[in-house]
Amino acid sequence: MKRRGRLVFFLISAAAFAGVYLWGLKGLPAVGHYRGPYGDVLNQVGTYERHVTDIVTAVNFDYRGFDTLGEEFILFMSVIGGTVLLRRQREEEKSEHKDESLDDKSPERQAPEPSDATRVLTLGLVGPLVVFGLYIVAHGQLTPGGGFQGGVVLATAPLLVYLAGDLKKFKQITSHTLVEVSEAVGAGGYLAIGLAGLILGGSYLRNVAALGTTGMINSGGTIALINLATGLEVAAGFVLLLYAFLEQTLEIRLRGGK
């Protein structure tokens, strides 16, 4: 298609989109004027029914827990897909020209050692970051946050180790069998908690655990448990991806005389 034709095509579709979009915008309620009854009802009864103070988490992991189960498995499958795709390349290289691909790199292209300032800052942040991630995971039912957010925070901790230049430690952490096991246990844990609801309460994902006192860390029943499982799964999933992406780089840099 010529430039002119493309432009005409773009202008027509842009005009059509703008029309439909503005038409749709006209039907939206004004900011702050929520119409539906669902959110209002949950805001009223959520705290009494589930003993939680963050209704968003109650919706995500209880009232609409089944949706979130699907979301968790979307992440699970994409992590598996990513690792499988990257793994095949790795094995091909190993079998065919293992030594060339790793050794014939020009040595002056080595990544520079991180400075002392970087090393101190990154390694010093690992501890607080892990604590903060666990805090976000564990307080999902009380304050904004939960398994998904806290899990990603946790997964950035090994990355800081990588940035600090401690490649051996990074490899030890990320290639550990425990990461794969955690991924599976986290994903399976959600399913298992749902099944427990089915067996004990008569419907899948029913909140059957003790609800505890509102405002305490053990409140929310299965909401807190599912958050823990999700946090485990998300953290392990991201760590698995990190290793899959960085494995080749790691091998080259570790062989490079370090």
Binding site: V56, F148, F245
Partner: protein, 91 residues
């Protein structure tokens, strides 16, 4: 409050356009990280702290990280292919 909302919305529009107009993928990854941060601020100003927290970890950290890692991977492969081609020519 309304002023804040308008300001942050225009920030989102500007950063999003900037990301689209950036042509170099590596620079784009940095841009999208900044855009993720602005988006998180927007969700916070519109009183959605849960979403803001997800946005900050996914949009400002995880997504740019995955892009940069993928770029590294692609570049390494291209370099290897280049090296192989040169070897064949020499032989």
């Amino acid at each position: 409050m309304l002023f804040l909302q308008y300001t942050i919305l225009s920030f989102v529009a500007v950063t999003a356009t900037a990301v689209v107009l950036t042509r170099d993928p590596a620079k784009q990854a940095i841009g999208i990280s900044f855009y993720g941060l602005v988006m998180a601020l927007m969700f916070f100003i519109f009183q959605a702290p849960d979403v803001a927290l997800s946005q900050i970890v996914i949009g400002a950290v995880a997504l740019p990280l995955m892009i940069v890692l993928a770029l590294t991977k692609i570049r390494r492969q291209e370099e290897e292919q280049e090296a192989e081609r040169k070897e064949k020519k020499a032989a």
